[in-house]
Subunit: 272 residues, 2 copies
């Protein structure tokens, strides 16, 4: 990608976040019917509507680019550019009225995420990640000055000092058998539950040290990686290998690279 | 209590929420040291500071009333009035930067909660419950009109339609053996994790149908009960019995009374 292409696509990504937010915001805490999808995860008109408008805008602006969205699948799979969209990451949080879900927008180039946006359309918080650059964070609407500022994960010397986060115990039921999440939990200082993409944003702000999740699709992690890495953190699978479209669905994020080997070793250590 | 006493104490409760918020707000996402207490739960200067200022104000205004706070214990235990304070309910959410914790302020009269406030000092959301009255909800700061409005839980015909919420799987490890939370979970439509007091506020807004938690102290549930019941819901222990200072720590909240018996029956049904 040329620098001009990156700039132009970053503008597109920010506009996509604005457009999706305009769909989602009025539906927050409105009476909505939530269908269960084939994988038992919920979906509402907010998920479908926000993905539809983002796809429509992309088809107008970049008709030759690929799109991979959670709700409506993949188009232009041959393009080296692939917009990866999760209109409402954390639909359970959304439908129960918690303002800690997010819209995820990533641009992959040759299967590597180069742009990643985490947008919280209710609080107005937005994390902007571009590969090779510092992550920027736009503060919530309760701040007077909302100029985006560099985001930084925090140092954390050991697992025993680490705040661990995970969205739900249910997702861990699908963890590959060679790992034991409970060992990592025991090694960490504390765990908190119910995170979705917002937890990765908090890791990029130095509030959380480790996130270990599984059953994650490319649209779940693609936008997170530039945000986490541009804040000084790092994201791999539970083996410490790069995240990949054809991976096992495990995702490990750490606020600083020193924790990575410790977390990987801990996940591989069986409890019994 | 006379109506005048109720009005006067309601004013005090709202001022306590403002005072605690002024302590907590600037500490949200600030670098804080979190100590682990004897029960392994975290505590920060925000918890201690907010409780200290609330106690100081109460000692000025109502020196003869009792106070029971999470951090600094009980005073004036003989008074029929007991202010029950949890300065930061959801300290894990607070220290990881999630704006879904809350300050809990209750007034118990003869061991029954008559006033309950759930205050979210960052978003500005506030639930105001008074026994025998409709619960009022002050919307978040992202709404232009922030006039408090009546809050109402929603009808939910069966467990199979119900959104269940619980703060963490760890708290369930201390559930009394005669109950099986997993049976209730299987009977409900969906579960979401990481709630603390904010989930009870969402139940009072018709976003969540059932909350079943345990290891709950009086300062965890006293403020929630007037909020939930004034929105049409009901709160008991897992046996369906009234909540009590000397209870077993289990708390069950339902958005409408029809769900209560079904939830109690489900919790009592062993899985095996």
């Amino acid at each position: 990608m040329t620098p001009d292409q990156t700039e132009s696509c970053l503008k597109t990504a920010l506009m996509l976040a604005d457009i999706a937010g305009a769909v989602i915001r009025p539906l927050f805490r409105a009476p909505l019917h939530a269908d269960n999808k084939a994988d038992a995860s919920p979906v509402t008109v907010a998920d479908r509507g926000a993905e539809r408008v983002m796809r429509a805008f992309l088809e107008e602006l970049h008709p030759d680019h690929g799109i991979l969205g959670e709700e409506f699948g993949r188009t232009n799979a041959d393009s080296p550019f692939c917009w990866t969209l999760d209109p409402v990451d954390g639909t359970r949080a959304f439908i129960t009225g918690r303002p800690v879900f997010g819209t995820l927008i990533a641009l992959m180039y040759e299967n590597r995420p180069v742009i990643g946006i985490i947008d919280q359309p209710v609080t107005g918080e937005r994390w902007i990640g571009v590969a090779g650059r510092e992550t920027l964070f736009r503060p919530a609407m309760w701040h007077q000055d909302r100029t985006p500022l560099p985001a930084a994960a925090r140092p954390c010397p050991s697992l025993g000092d680490a705040e661990l986060s995970c969205t739900s115990p249910e997702m861990l039921e699908s963890a590959p058998e060679c790992f034991t999440w409970a060992t990592l939990k025991q090694a960490c200082r504390r765990v908190s539950w119910g995170g979705d993409c917002y937890a990765y944003g908090l890791l990029a702000l130095g509030q959380i040290d480790i996130i270990a999740e599984c059953d994650m699709k490319p649209w779940d992690w693609a936008a997170l990686q530039p945000v986490v890495e541009g804040a000084g953190g790092c994201m791999t699978d539970w083996s410490g290998k790069p995240l990949d479209f054809n991976g096992d669905g495990t995702v490990l994020a750490v606020g600083n690279r020193d924790l990575l080997d410790k977390a990987v070793t801990s996940l591989k250590t069986a409890l019994h």
